[in-house]
Amino acid sequence: MTWALRDSWTVTLRDLGHWRRQPWGLVIGLAFPILLLLMFGFLLGGAIDVPGGYIEFLFPGMLAVTMAFGLETTMTTVSEDVQRGVTDRFRSLPMSRIAVLLGRATADMLASVVSLAVLLVAGLVIGWRIHEGVGNALVGVALLLLLRFAFLWVGIYLGLLFRGQGGVMAVQILVWPFVFLSNAFVPITTMPGWIQVLSAWNPITATVAATRELFGNGPATENAILLAVVWPVVLSVVFATLAVRRWTRLGR
């Protein structure tokens, strides 16, 4: 077990090394959600009427969407490592095998913590505020990271599944309707009937509703926090199992 942890950390350090050498990689990763935030908040926001103002409404949604887009980052990294043979190199070493996945997970979670911190500052700058105390806000941040954790395993699984570029690109495109079919940008009640049903079941919706409640950026909804825990936990368990299974069977 201690080797598993040490090896995981070594694999994580590899990513930290990437940050050190290509800091702009992180910056570009952050520029995207900030740009979306500004575009939606200031360009479209004027046309969207929600109680409390659109920036307050949008900001928790934007954070959750950034966590969801993390799926793409994880998947692309995993798939590239497989294609470039780096995964094979790891698998041919006498290291803990599971450490490759755990190290990936740790690195991506660390990156997400940094992104969230920067985004929160950006939010404060453009006028977003918390209204329910720091404790609740921290719980909201934890729920956002839990969502990232769930999508991380989805990303690892899909990255191991798709050997070619085709599958990776398909997911990169499908992520878009997936994040828009949620309450992140507009209230679900403004959507057509059957889309409301889809959006209500979107795990992003649960996290957004819960964080809005915890930040005081929107009304409390029934079971929002419970769902924001259950959804990611279920997704994590299912996809971590699938990913580990896929990983241990790469040689078959």
Binding site: R14, R84, P94
Partner: protein, 312 residues
């Protein structure tokens, strides 16, 4: 015995890619695994390095079974895959230190080993540069170094010079020679006869997942290594005359069905060349080209297996 496989079998879906491969590599030697694209070379290397499970037969590397003792195999076997498998963003030293740590050398020992390998493979000056700025030859050398972090008793090299220019190729050959001098056994896959000739003391020719021939490079060359003489006539109507002229110097003269070319294996190259050119000239046949050359790998395989190399 560095490597021994018996009846090694592997399928992908319905296709049998390795069909009962028996392979023996002696300790401290370079063994060439020669075969065209799709012969099953990479599959063999992947099984021997525990990346892929065999579907039948057994394989031991450095004395350990690749299935039941996979962990020990990984500790004693170095792998250099077909494509350089190093981190492109990190520098050469960071890569080697990472692989050393992951091989459980401990950080200090991993650093020391990385420095020694950088020295050995002449990468000290480039140690801190991102690998993405390396030349093809440097990348290959770093990949070789990465395969040697644990000082393996057996090294698996999968087409180490494919895609390299001649100088890159020579660099890799030098490194391999130095390794063997140090006692490491090497299984080297390649598509190039020349490479086997340069490095290997034993060769196994693989075709469609089966052994097509084995022996020393010299023995192999003796069986297939005679020169080829090609004659290209201008007028297709002259093909029969060209054919009979070549038949006079070689038994196996063959007419290229859709071209204007006749090809034959010749033993006494100069005598054959002079004879054929003079005969055709006397008969007043216009010749576009006469080529005296070494056999191609295609012809080697034709010779060894009676079937042509399949495009893949």
């Amino acid at each position: 015995m560095a490597i021994r496989t018996t009846g090694l079998t592997r399928r992908y879906g319905e296709t049998t890619v390795l069909d009962g491969l028996d392979l023996t590599v002696d300790a401290g030697t370079v063994h060439g695994l020669l075969g065209p694209n799709g012969a099953g070379k990479t599959t063999t290397v992947r099984i021997l390095s525990t990346l892929l499970d065999p579907h039948g037969g057994t394989a031991t590397v450095a004395g350990y079974d690749v299935v039941r003792q996979a962990a020990q195999v990984r500790r004693h076997v170095g792998l250099v895959g077909q494509h350089a498998a190093v981190d492109e963003i990190l520098g050469g030293r960071d890569n080697l230190v990472m692989f050393g740590r992951l091989s459980h050398l401990g950080t200090r020992q991993a650093r020391r080993r990385a420095d020694a390998l950088l020295e050995q493979f002449d990468l000290v000056d480039a140690a801190e540069r991102p690998v993405s700025t390396y030349s093809g030859g440097m990348r290959r050398r770093l990949d070789l170094a990465a395969g040697l972090v644990l000082d393996p008793t057996v090294l698996l090299l999968d087409e180490p010079t494919t895609g390299l220019d001649p100088s890159g190729r020579r660099e890799v050959w030098q490194s391999v020679r130095a390794l063997v001098a140090g006692g490491t056994a090497v299984l080297l896959t390649t598509q190039y006869l020349e490479e086997v000739d340069q490095l290997a003391s034993q060769v196994t020719v693989l075709n469609h997942g089966r052994v097509a021939a084995e022996g020393t490079p010299d023995a192999l060359k003796a069986s297939i290594g005679q020169d080829r003489l090609d004659v290209v006539v201008r007028d297709e109507a002259d093909l029969p005359s060209a054919h009979s002229a070549l038949r006079a110097v070689a038994q196996d003269a063959e007419t290229d069905l859709d071209g204007r070319r006749v090809t034959a294996t010749v033993t006494d190259r100069m005598a054959a060349l002079t004879y054929v050119v003079r005969t055709l000239d006397d008969a007043g046949i216009v010749v576009d080209d006469v080529i005296l050359r070494r056999p191609t790998l295609d012809e080697v395989f034709l010779h060894l297996t009676g079937s042509t190399k399949e495009a893949s």
